[in-house]
């Protein structure tokens, strides 16, 4: 422990020697606040155009995209599950039971380890925010989304996104995330990929190979 303190002192002393006279925290915060941010923060698209853009980006990633109204979520989920030939999915704690159609097995995924999750047919979850410009889903450790392992190990992910959760730009997404920025967070933009072999994009190295998004329009 004494050793590690001395390393800490050594590094900080070296930094301070290089930088010279330090500024006050108030001065530093003021300098930070003065940083010029003229990049585009707010989106400009209408809601229809926004959702169309989001859908286009998802389709580019070969994700499946479906739309339904708020009262027909369970029906839509049923249709997707039949298409994917699934008999059930794992679900996080806090997911709305109204979303679950009859006749399918939904397992509570809380506390399942990697081996158990590996045996499930996939995950059904919601998200915190979605970014249209980049086709991204942002999940956090919260109700309806669960721990990070849930959207990682199963080979299939069905994510329910309500229209009000979709923003246009990355800065807008960060505004939505500001209050929960300390939670474990995952930005998902398409299935996993690598281009390490001759720059050929190969999908599904680790992480779900199949992704479906159900867009709920009010």
């Amino acid at each position: 422990m004494g050793d590690s303190n001395s390393q800490r002192s050594t590094v900080l002393a070296s930094i301070r020697m290089s930088l010279g006279a330090p500024s006050s925290p108030a001065g530093i915060e003021a300098e930070y606040a003065a940083i010029e941010r003229s990049y585009k923060c707010k989106g400009t698209l209408s809601e229809d155009a926004l959702l169309d853009l989001f859908e286009d980006r998802l389709l580019e990633y070969d994700a499946g995209v479906y739309r339904c109204s708020a009262s027909r979520i369970a029906d839509a989920v049923e249709g997707i599950l039949r298409k994917r030939r699934k008999s059930g999915l794992a679900i996080p704690a806090g997911l709305s039971r109204e979303w679950l159609p009859e006749g399918f097995g939904f397992t509570d995924a809380t506390g399942l380890d990697a081996y158990e999750l590996d045996k499930t047919e996939g995950l059904l979850s919601s998200c915190t925010v979605a970014i249209a410009e980049t086709g991204s889903l942002v999940l956090q450790n919260a109700d309806g989304q669960g721990a990070r392992i849930l959207s990682l190990v199963p080979d299939y992910h069905l994510c329910v996104v309500t229209a009000s959760q979709v923003v246009e730009t990355v800065p807008e997404a960060f505004e939505r995330l500001a209050k929960t920025s300390d939670l474990p967070t995952t930005f998902i933009s398409g299935p996993s990929a690598t281009a390490d072999i001759e720059m050929t994009r190969i999908k599904g190295v680790h992480g779900p190979r199949f992704l479906d998004v159900l867009l709920v329009i009010a």
């Binding site: 590690s4 390393q7 050594t10 590094v11 900080l12 930094i15 020697m17 290089s18 930088l19 330090p22 500024s23 530093i28 300098e31 930070y32 940083i35 010029e36 941010r37 003229s38 990049y39 585009k40 923060c41 980006r57 809380t110 990697a114 081996y115 086709g135 991204s136 450790n141 721990a147 990070r148 392992i149 990682l152 990355v170 800065p171 997404a173 960060f174 995330l177 500001a178 920025s181 300390d182 939670l183 474990p184 967070t185 995952t186 930005f187 933009s189 299935p191 996993s192 990929a193 690598t194 281009a195 390490d196 001759e198 720059m199 050929t200 190969i202 599904g204 190295v205 680790h206 992480g207």
Partner: protein, 494 residues
């Protein structure tokens, strides 16, 4: 078992050899397979990068903001690092400080041993290459399993990375297949990229589930939350960040950013610059330890290893703004020809040419700042606006001054030549006389077709592949003096 000290492990950390760049380059220029692979890969990424940056009307604003955030952070680096430490610790993480590579290795080895681990899983991190972590672990009976496909290729092929985003870019699929067939014992392995990726997926999946200690680097340390951000494509990062019990992250001190919010710039500029995507497949952020989600124990090793002295050099400090996107490598016409191994360092290309020598306080890699024609393509694409050509010239200035302080340097041909040229350039009369001498003196070298095809000594570098047209018999100034100046005089008097 006696602990093997890192200094006994025969590997140079940041630099793995000591050839001058021209010599290393010469060997690689002969390797047409590597050159072909490098050019294909960099052209593909550059094409994608140009497309996705052109579609953003605020791309230049993003670059400017990113540069300002980074420059501001470096000006107050101690403040932000201690803020990060405070917040990370409050969230249940452990923060360690390492002044150099040996110290970092010692800390990491100690942590791995305290958990009795014989294997660890690793996410791609150039920082661990920089400190020679794998060799240290192996020498001490711990096997590091690389989970990034490219790093796996490098590890199984007993090779070194040549690019920090696509480390195995110098290999084609046939070469990779050969490595996997041999090392994974898959004699019937197909040669399509999908076959190779599937082989890697199967090989690694078992390891993720079983191995309890993971080692990573870090793209960003977030001061206001005490959190960290990892940017990746394959999902092996997510595996290593969530499945094991223990996570150890070794991160350069320059990676800290003031606020979670600043990712709204950097998560736009980094993916577009690094892989030419609007967003890379997976980004993970977290703070410390979160019950029921991810490792129960989280350690960050803050690595200095030559970075803090760079802060003192106001001109060169911008070197530390780098977010490791490798866009400069993809844009560099020199890198296109030689690939990364010519730089003999973990950090290759334009950023490597300025970072590597500085990490060694200019004691190593002194030929690297000259490995550039100063074309400026790197500066044009850098998402945080590092003026690499400016830093290259600045470092050349340091090298020249240091050399001039030695006898060998003072009396070197280069220095004598440059001093003589400077003497001539200060006075037009002297310069004119030198031109006349040249016009006469070149006659011995000019062939009858009016060209010089051979020049002696270091100038032979030119004539090996290029002719040089002989100096015209009359310079412009002589022509003007003869044909025009008398006229001017007349006009003046007339």
């Amino acid at each position: 078992m006696r602990e093997v000290q890192v200094s006994e492990v025969p590997v140079q950390h940041t630099r793995w050899n000591t050839h001058d760049f021209p010599d290393a380059a010469k060997v690689l220029l002969e390797d047409s397979q590597t050159r072909k692979n490098v050019q294909h890969a960099t052209n593909v990424i550059q094409g994608k990068r140009n497309k996705v940056t052109a579609e953003l009307p605020d791309w230049e604003d993003l670059r400017e903001a990113g540069a300002q955030v980074k420059a501001h952070t470096l000006r107050h680096l101690d403040y932000y690092l201690t803020k990060f430490e405070e917040n990370c610790t409050r969230a249940g993480g452990h923060v360690h400080w390492a002044s150099d590579a040996d110290e970092a290795n010692r800390i990491i080895l100690g942590l791995v041993r305290s958990h009795g681990a014989k294997e660890v899983i690793k996410i791609k991190t150039m920082t661990s290459e920089e400190i020679g972590l794998n060799a240290t672990l192996e020498a001490n009976g711990v096997w590091p399993v690389e989970t990034d496909l490219a790093e796996l290729i490098i590890q199984l092929g007993k090779d070194r990375p040549s690019h920090f985003v696509v480390p195995a870019l110098h290999k084609n699929k046939e070469q990779i297949r050969e490595i996997f067939q041999r090392e994974m014992n898959l004699p019937d392995l197909g040669d399509q990229p999908i076959d190779l990726a599937t082989a890697a997926r199967t090989y690694l999946r078992e390891k993720y589930m079983r191995i309890k200690v993971a080692i990573s680097g870090g793209n960003f340390l977030i001061a206001d939350t005490g959190g960290m951000c990892i940017v990746e494509s394959e999902g092996n990062g997510r595996m290593c960040l969530t499945l094991p019990d223990v996570l150890i992250s070794v991160v350069g001190i320059e990676k800290v950013i003031p606020s979670f919010r600043d990712l709204d710039i950097l998560l736009q500029t980094l993916p577009r610059s690094a892989t030419g995507e609007r967003m890379n497949p997976y980004n993970s952020t977290w703070t410390g330890v979160h019950p029921g989600d991810g490792p129960k124990e989280f350690h960050v090793v803050l690595l200095d290893n030559g970075r803090s002295p760079i802060l003192a050099d106001k001109e060169a400090r911008q070197t530390l703004q780098c977010i490791r996107c490798a866009a400069c490598l993809n844009a560099c016409p020199v890198y296109h020809q030689t690939g990364g191994h010519a730089y003999e360092s973990v950090y290759a290309g334009p950023i490597g040419a300025i970072l590597t020598p500085q990490l060694h306080s200019m004691g190593e890699g002194r030929s690297l700042p000259y490995a550039s024609s100063l074309c400026g393509a790197c500066y044009e694409v850098c998402p945080v606006k590092i003026n690499i050509p400016e830093v290259l010239i600045h470092l050349r200035g340091k090298i020249v001054r240091e050399d001039q302080a030695t006898l060998a340097g003072k009396f070197s041909l280069w220095n004598i030549g440059m001093q003589a040229a400077a003497f001539l350039f200060k006075d037009a009369g002297r310069l004119s006389m030198a031109e006349h001498l040249g016009q006469i003196g070149q006659k011995a070298l000019v062939s009858k077709n009016g060209f010089i095809e051979w020049m002696p000594g270091m100038l032979s570098g030119w004539t090996q592949t290029r002719d040089l047209k002989a100096m015209p018999e009359q310079s412009f100034r002589d022509w003007w003096a003869k044909e025009r100046a008398p006229q001017d005089k007349e006009d003046a008097h007339g």
